[in-house]
Symmetry: C3
Subunit: 195 residues, 3 copies
Protein backbone atom coordinates (compact mmCIF):
# COMPACT_ATOMS: atom_id res chain seq x y z
CA UNK A 1 0.00 0.00 0.00
CA UNK A 2 1.38 3.33 -0.92
CA UNK A 3 1.99 5.48 2.09
CA UNK A 4 -0.70 8.03 2.59
CA UNK A 5 0.52 11.37 1.40
CA UNK A 6 0.81 13.77 4.28
CA UNK A 7 -2.16 16.08 4.38
CA UNK A 8 -1.19 19.40 2.91
CA UNK A 9 -1.42 22.13 5.50
CA UNK A 10 -4.49 24.22 4.72
CA UNK A 11 -3.36 27.58 3.47
CA UNK A 12 -4.27 30.36 5.88
CA UNK A 13 -4.63 32.86 3.07
CA UNK A 14 -8.25 32.24 2.07
CA UNK A 15 -9.26 32.53 5.72
CA UNK A 16 -7.42 35.76 6.10
CA UNK A 17 -8.99 37.01 2.94
CA UNK A 18 -12.52 36.29 4.04
CA UNK A 19 -11.87 37.66 7.47
CA UNK A 20 -10.71 40.95 6.00
CA UNK A 21 -13.65 41.08 3.63
CA UNK A 22 -15.88 40.58 6.65
CA UNK A 23 -14.23 43.50 8.45
CA UNK A 24 -14.54 45.62 5.34
CA UNK A 25 -18.20 44.93 4.86
CA UNK A 26 -18.98 45.50 8.53
CA UNK A 27 -17.12 48.76 8.27
CA UNK A 28 -18.96 49.67 5.11
CA UNK A 29 -22.34 48.98 6.71
CA UNK A 30 -21.37 51.02 9.73
CA UNK A 31 -20.27 53.94 7.59
CA UNK A 32 -23.48 53.85 5.59
CA UNK A 33 -25.68 53.84 8.68
CA UNK A 34 -23.62 56.42 10.47
CA UNK A 35 -22.61 54.20 13.34
CA UNK A 36 -18.95 55.11 13.00
CA UNK A 37 -19.73 58.74 13.62
CA UNK A 38 -18.18 60.10 16.71
CA UNK A 39 -20.10 62.01 19.36
CA UNK A 40 -16.86 63.70 20.33
CA UNK A 41 -16.73 67.21 18.79
CA UNK A 42 -14.06 67.68 16.12
CA UNK A 43 -14.08 71.35 17.05
CA UNK A 44 -15.39 73.37 19.96
CA UNK A 45 -15.80 77.13 20.31
CA UNK A 46 -17.38 79.30 22.98
CA UNK A 47 -18.63 82.81 22.29
CA UNK A 48 -20.93 85.40 23.81
CA UNK A 49 -23.31 87.62 21.91
CA UNK A 50 -25.09 90.70 23.11
CA UNK A 51 -28.62 91.65 22.10
CA UNK A 52 -29.88 95.18 22.82
CA UNK A 53 -33.51 95.45 21.75
CA UNK A 54 -34.87 98.75 20.47
CA UNK A 55 -37.62 99.93 22.80
CA UNK A 56 -38.45 103.34 21.36
CA UNK A 57 -35.77 105.17 23.33
CA UNK A 58 -32.41 103.52 22.68
CA UNK A 59 -31.96 103.93 18.92
CA UNK A 60 -28.24 104.68 19.24
CA UNK A 61 -27.35 101.54 21.17
CA UNK A 62 -29.93 99.08 19.92
CA UNK A 63 -28.65 96.04 17.98
CA UNK A 64 -32.11 94.53 17.44
CA UNK A 65 -35.59 95.70 16.49
CA UNK A 66 -39.10 94.31 16.40
CA UNK A 67 -40.16 94.06 12.74
CA UNK A 68 -43.29 91.96 12.95
CA UNK A 69 -46.06 91.65 15.51
CA UNK A 70 -49.51 90.08 15.76
CA UNK A 71 -52.73 92.06 15.28
CA UNK A 72 -52.84 92.90 18.99
CA UNK A 73 -49.23 94.12 19.19
CA UNK A 74 -46.94 96.70 17.63
CA UNK A 75 -43.30 97.01 16.58
CA UNK A 76 -42.19 99.40 19.31
CA UNK A 77 -42.78 97.39 22.47
CA UNK A 78 -42.85 93.63 23.01
CA UNK A 79 -46.36 92.21 22.94
CA UNK A 80 -48.20 90.67 25.91
CA UNK A 81 -48.82 86.91 26.07
CA UNK A 82 -45.11 86.20 26.33
CA UNK A 83 -44.40 88.23 23.20
CA UNK A 84 -46.15 85.61 21.05
CA UNK A 85 -45.83 86.69 17.45
CA UNK A 86 -43.07 89.27 17.83
CA UNK A 87 -40.44 89.01 15.10
CA UNK A 88 -37.06 90.47 16.03
CA UNK A 89 -34.13 91.15 13.69
CA UNK A 90 -30.67 91.43 15.22
CA UNK A 91 -27.07 92.32 14.45
CA UNK A 92 -25.30 91.61 17.74
CA UNK A 93 -21.59 91.85 18.54
CA UNK A 94 -19.85 88.55 19.32
CA UNK A 95 -17.15 88.53 21.99
CA UNK A 96 -14.92 85.81 23.40
CA UNK A 97 -15.75 86.69 26.99
CA UNK A 98 -18.85 88.03 28.70
CA UNK A 99 -17.87 91.68 28.38
CA UNK A 100 -20.21 93.63 26.10
CA UNK A 101 -17.40 96.09 25.44
CA UNK A 102 -14.76 93.45 24.68
CA UNK A 103 -13.29 93.44 21.16
CA UNK A 104 -15.91 91.94 18.84
CA UNK A 105 -14.72 88.96 16.77
CA UNK A 106 -17.79 89.02 14.56
CA UNK A 107 -21.51 89.62 14.43
CA UNK A 108 -24.48 87.41 15.21
CA UNK A 109 -27.02 88.26 12.51
CA UNK A 110 -30.50 86.94 11.93
CA UNK A 111 -33.89 86.80 13.56
CA UNK A 112 -35.99 85.25 16.28
CA UNK A 113 -39.73 84.86 16.57
CA UNK A 114 -41.48 84.49 19.89
CA UNK A 115 -43.77 81.58 19.18
CA UNK A 116 -45.73 80.57 22.26
CA UNK A 117 -48.51 82.24 24.23
CA UNK A 118 -47.96 80.46 27.58
CA UNK A 119 -44.22 80.82 28.13
CA UNK A 120 -41.25 82.60 26.58
CA UNK A 121 -39.93 80.54 23.72
CA UNK A 122 -38.61 81.51 20.31
CA UNK A 123 -37.48 80.15 16.97
CA UNK A 124 -34.05 81.21 15.83
CA UNK A 125 -32.47 81.53 12.40
CA UNK A 126 -29.11 83.28 12.41
CA UNK A 127 -25.44 83.27 11.48
CA UNK A 128 -22.20 84.00 13.23
CA UNK A 129 -20.23 86.07 10.75
CA UNK A 130 -16.57 86.13 11.75
CA UNK A 131 -14.09 88.72 10.66
CA UNK A 132 -11.14 88.52 13.01
CA UNK A 133 -7.54 87.40 12.72
CA UNK A 134 -8.54 84.10 14.27
CA UNK A 135 -11.70 83.23 12.33
CA UNK A 136 -13.01 84.04 8.89
CA UNK A 137 -16.24 82.69 7.53
CA UNK A 138 -19.63 81.97 8.96
CA UNK A 139 -21.63 79.43 10.93
CA UNK A 140 -25.37 79.08 10.29
CA UNK A 141 -27.84 78.10 12.99
CA UNK A 142 -31.52 77.16 13.24
CA UNK A 143 -33.72 75.78 15.95
CA UNK A 144 -36.09 76.19 18.83
CA UNK A 145 -34.99 78.34 21.75
CA UNK A 146 -37.11 77.68 24.86
CA UNK A 147 -35.36 80.56 26.52
CA UNK A 148 -36.52 79.92 30.08
CA UNK A 149 -34.51 76.67 30.09
CA UNK A 150 -31.03 76.93 31.55
CA UNK A 151 -29.58 75.50 28.35
CA UNK A 152 -31.10 74.79 24.96
CA UNK A 153 -29.63 73.18 21.88
CA UNK A 154 -29.95 74.53 18.36
CA UNK A 155 -28.51 73.02 15.19
CA UNK A 156 -25.43 74.21 13.33
CA UNK A 157 -26.81 73.64 9.84
CA UNK A 158 -23.80 74.73 7.80
CA UNK A 159 -20.74 76.89 7.58
CA UNK A 160 -18.48 78.70 5.15
CA UNK A 161 -14.84 79.82 5.05
CA UNK A 162 -12.95 78.47 8.08
CA UNK A 163 -16.12 76.56 8.94
CA UNK A 164 -16.62 75.05 5.49
CA UNK A 165 -19.52 72.55 5.54
CA UNK A 166 -19.59 72.37 9.34
CA UNK A 167 -22.45 70.72 11.21
CA UNK A 168 -23.02 70.45 14.93
CA UNK A 169 -24.92 71.61 17.97
CA UNK A 170 -24.79 74.97 19.74
CA UNK A 171 -25.81 74.96 23.36
CA UNK A 172 -27.20 78.38 24.22
CA UNK A 173 -27.58 79.76 27.73
CA UNK A 174 -28.66 83.16 28.99
CA UNK A 175 -25.56 84.50 30.67
CA UNK A 176 -27.19 87.73 31.81
CA UNK A 177 -30.09 90.02 31.05
CA UNK A 178 -31.44 93.41 32.05
CA UNK A 179 -35.20 93.79 31.87
CA UNK A 180 -36.35 93.15 28.33
CA UNK A 181 -33.69 95.25 26.66
CA UNK A 182 -30.30 93.57 27.14
CA UNK A 183 -29.67 89.85 26.71
CA UNK A 184 -26.26 88.21 26.79
CA UNK A 185 -26.22 84.71 25.37
CA UNK A 186 -23.42 82.18 25.71
CA UNK A 187 -23.02 79.86 22.73
CA UNK A 188 -21.08 76.66 23.32
CA UNK A 189 -20.57 75.43 19.77
CA UNK A 190 -19.67 71.78 19.24
CA UNK A 191 -18.98 70.76 15.66
CA UNK A 192 -19.28 67.05 14.84
CA UNK A 193 -18.67 67.38 11.12
CA UNK A 194 -15.45 69.13 10.19
CA UNK A 195 -14.10 69.15 6.64
CA UNK B 1 23.07 18.59 -16.86
CA UNK B 2 21.77 19.63 -13.49
CA UNK B 3 18.13 19.06 -13.17
CA UNK B 4 16.18 22.21 -13.62
CA UNK B 5 15.16 23.52 -10.22
CA UNK B 6 11.44 23.33 -9.82
CA UNK B 7 9.92 26.72 -10.40
CA UNK B 8 9.08 28.25 -7.06
CA UNK B 9 5.36 28.70 -6.72
CA UNK B 10 4.58 32.38 -7.04
CA UNK B 11 3.48 33.61 -3.65
CA UNK B 12 -0.19 34.63 -3.64
CA UNK B 13 0.39 37.14 -0.90
CA UNK B 14 1.42 40.20 -2.92
CA UNK B 15 -1.60 39.65 -5.16
CA UNK B 16 -3.89 39.46 -2.19
CA UNK B 17 -2.31 42.54 -0.76
CA UNK B 18 -2.83 44.63 -3.84
CA UNK B 19 -6.32 43.29 -4.30
CA UNK B 20 -7.26 44.38 -0.81
CA UNK B 21 -5.66 47.78 -1.29
CA UNK B 22 -7.75 48.12 -4.42
CA UNK B 23 -10.93 47.32 -2.50
CA UNK B 24 -9.93 49.74 0.21
CA UNK B 25 -9.29 52.60 -2.16
CA UNK B 26 -12.48 51.95 -4.10
CA UNK B 27 -14.31 51.98 -0.79
CA UNK B 28 -12.55 55.14 0.27
CA UNK B 29 -13.50 56.90 -2.95
CA UNK B 30 -17.09 55.74 -2.57
CA UNK B 31 -17.26 57.00 0.99
CA UNK B 32 -15.79 60.38 0.00
CA UNK B 33 -18.24 60.86 -2.83
CA UNK B 34 -21.19 59.64 -0.86
CA UNK B 35 -21.96 56.68 -3.06
CA UNK B 36 -22.12 54.32 -0.11
CA UNK B 37 -24.91 56.32 1.46
CA UNK B 38 -28.10 54.42 1.79
CA UNK B 39 -31.45 55.73 0.60
CA UNK B 40 -33.13 53.49 3.14
CA UNK B 41 -34.15 55.55 6.21
CA UNK B 42 -32.27 54.71 9.41
CA UNK B 43 -35.30 55.99 11.31
CA UNK B 44 -38.88 56.76 10.42
CA UNK B 45 -41.55 58.63 12.38
CA UNK B 46 -45.06 59.77 11.51
CA UNK B 47 -46.79 62.61 13.34
CA UNK B 48 -49.69 64.99 12.87
CA UNK B 49 -49.72 68.64 13.77
CA UNK B 50 -52.66 70.96 14.09
CA UNK B 51 -52.62 74.61 13.05
CA UNK B 52 -55.44 76.90 14.19
CA UNK B 53 -54.94 80.34 12.71
CA UNK B 54 -56.07 83.43 14.60
CA UNK B 55 -58.75 85.22 12.58
CA UNK B 56 -59.81 87.98 14.93
CA UNK B 57 -62.38 85.85 16.75
CA UNK B 58 -60.69 82.70 18.04
CA UNK B 59 -58.03 84.03 20.40
CA UNK B 60 -58.61 81.27 22.96
CA UNK B 61 -58.08 78.37 20.54
CA UNK B 62 -55.65 79.84 18.06
CA UNK B 63 -52.19 78.26 17.83
CA UNK B 64 -50.96 80.56 15.05
CA UNK B 65 -51.10 84.24 14.17
CA UNK B 66 -50.29 86.48 11.24
CA UNK B 67 -47.36 88.69 12.21
CA UNK B 68 -46.32 90.17 8.89
CA UNK B 69 -48.23 91.22 5.78
CA UNK B 70 -47.56 93.18 2.62
CA UNK B 71 -48.58 96.82 2.18
CA UNK B 72 -51.99 95.78 0.82
CA UNK B 73 -52.75 93.35 3.67
CA UNK B 74 -53.08 93.30 7.44
CA UNK B 75 -52.32 90.95 10.34
CA UNK B 76 -55.92 90.04 11.20
CA UNK B 77 -57.10 88.32 8.03
CA UNK B 78 -55.16 86.50 5.35
CA UNK B 79 -54.37 88.69 2.36
CA UNK B 80 -55.77 88.28 -1.15
CA UNK B 81 -53.55 87.05 -4.01
CA UNK B 82 -53.14 83.65 -2.34
CA UNK B 83 -51.98 85.25 0.89
CA UNK B 84 -48.72 86.34 -0.77
CA UNK B 85 -46.58 88.03 1.84
CA UNK B 86 -48.40 86.82 4.95
CA UNK B 87 -46.01 85.71 7.69
CA UNK B 88 -47.50 83.28 10.20
CA UNK B 89 -46.01 82.18 13.52
CA UNK B 90 -47.22 78.93 15.03
CA UNK B 91 -47.04 76.75 18.12
CA UNK B 92 -49.06 73.69 17.14
CA UNK B 93 -49.69 70.52 19.13
CA UNK B 94 -48.15 67.33 17.68
CA UNK B 95 -50.08 64.10 18.01
CA UNK B 96 -49.38 60.53 16.94
CA UNK B 97 -52.75 60.15 15.24
CA UNK B 98 -55.04 62.52 13.41
CA UNK B 99 -57.07 63.50 16.48
CA UNK B 100 -56.62 67.15 17.42
CA UNK B 101 -57.54 66.26 20.99
CA UNK B 102 -55.18 63.29 21.27
CA UNK B 103 -52.39 63.53 23.85
CA UNK B 104 -49.75 65.90 22.44
CA UNK B 105 -46.23 64.46 22.27
CA UNK B 106 -44.66 67.82 21.52
CA UNK B 107 -45.10 71.13 19.75
CA UNK B 108 -44.44 72.19 16.19
CA UNK B 109 -42.99 75.69 16.52
CA UNK B 110 -41.84 78.12 13.87
CA UNK B 111 -43.16 80.12 10.96
CA UNK B 112 -44.38 80.00 7.40
CA UNK B 113 -44.51 82.70 4.77
CA UNK B 114 -46.93 82.60 1.87
CA UNK B 115 -44.63 83.41 -1.01
CA UNK B 116 -46.47 83.28 -4.33
CA UNK B 117 -49.17 85.45 -5.87
CA UNK B 118 -50.61 82.88 -8.30
CA UNK B 119 -51.12 79.81 -6.09
CA UNK B 120 -50.92 78.86 -2.43
CA UNK B 121 -47.36 78.05 -1.57
CA UNK B 122 -45.25 78.81 1.49
CA UNK B 123 -41.76 78.65 2.92
CA UNK B 124 -41.41 76.83 6.21
CA UNK B 125 -38.88 77.12 9.03
CA UNK B 126 -39.85 75.18 12.15
CA UNK B 127 -38.98 72.63 14.80
CA UNK B 128 -40.66 69.65 16.35
CA UNK B 129 -39.96 70.00 20.06
CA UNK B 130 -40.63 66.69 21.80
CA UNK B 131 -41.31 66.30 25.45
CA UNK B 132 -42.88 62.91 25.97
CA UNK B 133 -41.80 59.66 27.55
CA UNK B 134 -40.97 58.36 24.09
CA UNK B 135 -39.06 61.27 22.60
CA UNK B 136 -36.94 64.08 24.00
CA UNK B 137 -35.17 66.61 21.86
CA UNK B 138 -35.96 68.41 18.67
CA UNK B 139 -35.97 68.09 14.90
CA UNK B 140 -35.40 71.18 12.76
CA UNK B 141 -36.98 71.64 9.33
CA UNK B 142 -36.74 74.06 6.41
CA UNK B 143 -38.05 74.12 2.89
CA UNK B 144 -40.64 75.02 0.34
CA UNK B 145 -44.23 73.92 0.96
CA UNK B 146 -46.29 74.05 -2.25
CA UNK B 147 -49.34 73.27 -0.17
CA UNK B 148 -51.74 72.47 -2.99
CA UNK B 149 -49.62 69.43 -3.86
CA UNK B 150 -50.77 66.15 -2.32
CA UNK B 151 -47.33 65.65 -0.81
CA UNK B 152 -44.32 67.92 -0.53
CA UNK B 153 -40.86 67.29 0.82
CA UNK B 154 -38.98 69.56 3.19
CA UNK B 155 -35.51 69.02 4.64
CA UNK B 156 -34.71 67.84 8.14
CA UNK B 157 -31.69 70.10 8.65
CA UNK B 158 -30.67 69.01 12.13
CA UNK B 159 -31.73 67.59 15.44
CA UNK B 160 -30.91 67.58 19.13
CA UNK B 161 -31.38 65.20 22.08
CA UNK B 162 -32.81 61.88 20.87
CA UNK B 163 -32.40 63.20 17.35
CA UNK B 164 -28.78 64.31 17.76
CA UNK B 165 -27.38 65.51 14.41
CA UNK B 166 -30.21 63.95 12.40
CA UNK B 167 -30.74 64.75 8.73
CA UNK B 168 -33.48 63.60 6.41
CA UNK B 169 -36.64 64.40 4.54
CA UNK B 170 -40.12 65.08 5.90
CA UNK B 171 -42.97 64.42 3.51
CA UNK B 172 -45.84 66.70 4.44
CA UNK B 173 -49.44 66.21 3.39
CA UNK B 174 -52.60 68.08 4.28
CA UNK B 175 -54.63 65.52 6.18
CA UNK B 176 -57.61 67.79 6.70
CA UNK B 177 -58.60 71.44 6.78
CA UNK B 178 -61.57 73.63 7.66
CA UNK B 179 -61.80 76.88 5.73
CA UNK B 180 -58.71 78.95 6.34
CA UNK B 181 -58.64 78.41 10.08
CA UNK B 182 -57.79 74.77 10.81
CA UNK B 183 -55.10 72.78 9.04
CA UNK B 184 -53.99 69.29 10.00
CA UNK B 185 -50.69 68.27 8.51
CA UNK B 186 -49.24 64.77 8.40
CA UNK B 187 -45.45 64.63 8.62
CA UNK B 188 -43.81 61.41 7.47
CA UNK B 189 -40.26 61.89 8.71
CA UNK B 190 -37.50 59.78 7.18
CA UNK B 191 -34.06 60.20 8.67
CA UNK B 192 -31.11 59.13 6.53
CA UNK B 193 -28.40 60.29 8.88
CA UNK B 194 -28.64 58.86 12.40
CA UNK B 195 -25.83 59.22 14.95
CA UNK C 1 26.48 17.88 16.74
CA UNK C 2 23.16 17.74 15.02
CA UNK C 3 23.01 20.07 12.14
CA UNK C 4 21.19 23.27 13.01
CA UNK C 5 17.71 23.12 11.62
CA UNK C 6 17.32 25.68 8.92
CA UNK C 7 15.51 28.70 10.32
CA UNK C 8 11.91 28.53 9.25
CA UNK C 9 11.13 31.47 7.03
CA UNK C 10 8.98 33.89 9.05
CA UNK C 11 5.51 33.84 7.61
CA UNK C 12 4.64 37.16 6.01
CA UNK C 13 0.94 36.69 6.72
CA UNK C 14 0.69 38.07 10.27
CA UNK C 15 2.61 41.15 9.16
CA UNK C 16 0.31 41.67 6.24
CA UNK C 17 -2.67 41.17 8.48
CA UNK C 18 -1.60 43.78 10.99
CA UNK C 19 -0.60 46.17 8.27
CA UNK C 20 -4.06 45.95 6.73
CA UNK C 21 -5.73 46.34 10.09
CA UNK C 22 -3.63 49.46 10.59
CA UNK C 23 -4.79 50.87 7.25
CA UNK C 24 -8.37 50.00 8.11
CA UNK C 25 -8.31 51.69 11.47
CA UNK C 26 -6.58 54.77 10.10
CA UNK C 27 -9.25 54.88 7.43
CA UNK C 28 -11.98 54.41 9.99
CA UNK C 29 -10.66 57.26 12.13
CA UNK C 30 -10.38 59.50 9.10
CA UNK C 31 -13.93 58.72 8.05
CA UNK C 32 -15.24 59.42 11.55
CA UNK C 33 -13.48 62.76 11.78
CA UNK C 34 -14.36 63.77 8.28
CA UNK C 35 -10.81 64.00 7.00
CA UNK C 36 -11.59 61.86 3.97
CA UNK C 37 -14.19 64.30 2.78
CA UNK C 38 -13.38 65.87 -0.48
CA UNK C 39 -13.41 69.61 -1.08
CA UNK C 40 -14.07 68.93 -4.75
CA UNK C 41 -17.79 69.40 -5.53
CA UNK C 42 -19.65 66.21 -6.48
CA UNK C 43 -22.05 68.45 -8.42
CA UNK C 44 -21.99 72.01 -9.63
CA UNK C 45 -24.80 74.19 -10.99
CA UNK C 46 -25.00 77.84 -11.94
CA UNK C 47 -28.28 79.76 -12.05
CA UNK C 48 -29.52 83.32 -12.06
CA UNK C 49 -32.53 84.60 -10.18
CA UNK C 50 -34.34 87.85 -10.61
CA UNK C 51 -35.86 89.86 -7.77
CA UNK C 52 -38.28 92.68 -8.55
CA UNK C 53 -39.30 94.41 -5.34
CA UNK C 54 -42.75 95.92 -4.99
CA UNK C 55 -42.40 99.68 -4.48
CA UNK C 56 -46.03 100.81 -4.51
CA UNK C 57 -46.21 101.18 -8.28
CA UNK C 58 -45.14 97.90 -9.89
CA UNK C 59 -47.70 95.42 -8.60
CA UNK C 60 -47.98 93.62 -11.94
CA UNK C 61 -44.24 92.87 -12.30
CA UNK C 62 -43.15 92.60 -8.70
CA UNK C 63 -41.83 89.21 -7.52
CA UNK C 64 -41.09 90.38 -3.98
CA UNK C 65 -42.73 92.48 -1.29
CA UNK C 66 -41.81 94.01 2.05
CA UNK C 67 -43.86 92.26 4.74
CA UNK C 68 -42.19 93.43 7.90
CA UNK C 69 -40.51 96.67 8.94
CA UNK C 70 -39.25 98.29 12.14
CA UNK C 71 -41.26 100.92 14.04
CA UNK C 72 -39.69 103.72 11.99
CA UNK C 73 -40.40 102.11 8.60
CA UNK C 74 -43.30 100.80 6.56
CA UNK C 75 -44.05 98.00 4.11
CA UNK C 76 -44.28 100.10 0.96
CA UNK C 77 -40.78 101.57 0.69
CA UNK C 78 -37.48 100.29 2.01
CA UNK C 79 -36.52 101.84 5.33
CA UNK C 80 -33.59 104.18 5.93
CA UNK C 81 -30.50 103.02 7.86
CA UNK C 82 -29.63 100.52 5.14
CA UNK C 83 -33.11 98.98 5.29
CA UNK C 84 -32.35 97.55 8.75
CA UNK C 85 -35.37 95.55 9.82
CA UNK C 86 -37.09 95.19 6.46
CA UNK C 87 -38.41 91.68 5.87
CA UNK C 88 -38.90 90.79 2.20
CA UNK C 89 -40.72 87.76 0.79
CA UNK C 90 -39.89 86.68 -2.75
CA UNK C 91 -40.90 84.31 -5.53
CA UNK C 92 -38.30 84.97 -8.20
CA UNK C 93 -37.87 83.25 -11.58
CA UNK C 94 -34.68 81.18 -11.96
CA UNK C 95 -32.96 81.17 -15.35
CA UNK C 96 -29.85 79.46 -16.67
CA UNK C 97 -28.44 82.65 -18.12
CA UNK C 98 -28.61 86.29 -17.09
CA UNK C 99 -31.69 87.10 -19.18
CA UNK C 100 -34.71 88.00 -17.04
CA UNK C 101 -36.95 86.89 -19.88
CA UNK C 102 -35.20 83.57 -20.49
CA UNK C 103 -37.24 80.40 -19.92
CA UNK C 104 -37.54 79.91 -16.16
CA UNK C 105 -36.34 76.51 -14.87
CA UNK C 106 -37.82 77.07 -11.43
CA UNK C 107 -38.54 79.60 -8.74
CA UNK C 108 -36.42 80.98 -5.92
CA UNK C 109 -38.83 81.25 -2.99
CA UNK C 110 -38.26 82.48 0.53
CA UNK C 111 -37.31 85.60 2.41
CA UNK C 112 -34.52 87.96 3.35
CA UNK C 113 -34.18 90.32 6.27
CA UNK C 114 -31.96 93.39 6.15
CA UNK C 115 -30.15 93.06 9.45
CA UNK C 116 -27.58 95.81 9.89
CA UNK C 117 -27.87 99.56 10.39
CA UNK C 118 -24.42 100.57 9.08
CA UNK C 119 -24.22 98.72 5.74
CA UNK C 120 -26.46 96.65 3.48
CA UNK C 121 -26.46 93.09 4.69
CA UNK C 122 -29.22 90.52 4.93
CA UNK C 123 -30.10 87.08 6.23
CA UNK C 124 -31.50 84.66 3.70
CA UNK C 125 -33.74 81.61 4.02
CA UNK C 126 -34.99 80.27 0.70
CA UNK C 127 -35.40 77.36 -1.69
CA UNK C 128 -34.78 76.76 -5.36
CA UNK C 129 -37.87 74.86 -6.52
CA UNK C 130 -37.16 73.21 -9.87
CA UNK C 131 -39.78 72.11 -12.29
CA UNK C 132 -38.10 71.65 -15.64
CA UNK C 133 -37.23 68.71 -17.84
CA UNK C 134 -33.71 68.86 -16.50
CA UNK C 135 -34.30 69.23 -12.77
CA UNK C 136 -37.06 68.24 -10.40
CA UNK C 137 -36.92 68.80 -6.68
CA UNK C 138 -35.62 71.53 -4.45
CA UNK C 139 -32.49 72.90 -2.84
CA UNK C 140 -32.75 74.69 0.51
CA UNK C 141 -30.45 77.54 1.52
CA UNK C 142 -29.70 79.60 4.63
CA UNK C 143 -27.07 82.10 5.58
CA UNK C 144 -25.76 85.61 5.85
CA UNK C 145 -25.69 87.72 2.70
CA UNK C 146 -23.38 90.74 3.11
CA UNK C 147 -24.62 92.00 -0.22
CA UNK C 148 -22.03 94.69 -0.81
CA UNK C 149 -19.35 91.99 -1.05
CA UNK C 150 -18.53 90.82 -4.57
CA UNK C 151 -19.24 87.24 -3.55
CA UNK C 152 -20.76 85.75 -0.45
CA UNK C 153 -21.28 82.14 0.57
CA UNK C 154 -24.46 80.69 1.99
CA UNK C 155 -25.10 77.09 3.01
CA UNK C 156 -27.04 74.51 1.05
CA UNK C 157 -28.73 72.90 4.04
CA UNK C 158 -30.71 70.20 2.27
CA UNK C 159 -32.43 69.08 -0.87
CA UNK C 160 -35.24 66.91 -2.18
CA UNK C 161 -36.05 65.06 -5.41
CA UNK C 162 -33.08 65.20 -7.79
CA UNK C 163 -31.16 66.90 -4.98
CA UNK C 164 -32.04 64.33 -2.32
CA UNK C 165 -30.13 65.08 0.90
CA UNK C 166 -27.71 67.47 -0.81
CA UNK C 167 -25.39 69.73 1.16
CA UNK C 168 -22.98 72.34 -0.09
CA UNK C 169 -22.15 75.97 -0.56
CA UNK C 170 -23.78 78.52 -2.86
CA UNK C 171 -21.65 81.47 -3.83
CA UNK C 172 -23.91 84.41 -4.55
CA UNK C 173 -22.93 87.50 -6.51
CA UNK C 174 -24.94 90.50 -7.65
CA UNK C 175 -24.87 90.22 -11.42
CA UNK C 176 -26.84 93.40 -12.01
CA UNK C 177 -29.24 95.78 -10.32
CA UNK C 178 -31.42 98.77 -11.13
CA UNK C 179 -31.96 101.18 -8.28
CA UNK C 180 -33.64 99.38 -5.41
CA UNK C 181 -36.19 97.56 -7.50
CA UNK C 182 -34.42 94.99 -9.69
CA UNK C 183 -31.70 92.65 -8.47
CA UNK C 184 -30.19 89.83 -10.47
CA UNK C 185 -28.25 87.33 -8.43
CA UNK C 186 -25.91 84.66 -9.74
CA UNK C 187 -25.84 81.48 -7.67
CA UNK C 188 -22.84 79.21 -8.17
CA UNK C 189 -23.96 76.09 -6.34
CA UNK C 190 -21.32 73.56 -5.31
CA UNK C 191 -22.61 70.39 -3.70
CA UNK C 192 -20.15 68.42 -1.57
CA UNK C 193 -22.61 65.82 -0.36
CA UNK C 194 -24.43 63.96 -3.11
CA UNK C 195 -26.53 60.86 -2.44
Amino acid sequence: MAPKAPKAPKSPIPNLFFFLLLILSAFSAAAASGKLRSRRPCRRLVFYFHDILYNGENAANATAAIVGAPAWGNTTVLTGMNHFGDVVVFDDPITVDNNLHGPPVGRAQGFYIYDKKEIFTAWLGFSFVFNSTEHRGSLNFAGADPLMNKTRDVSVIGGTGDFFMARGIATLSTDSFEGEVYFRLRADIKLYECW
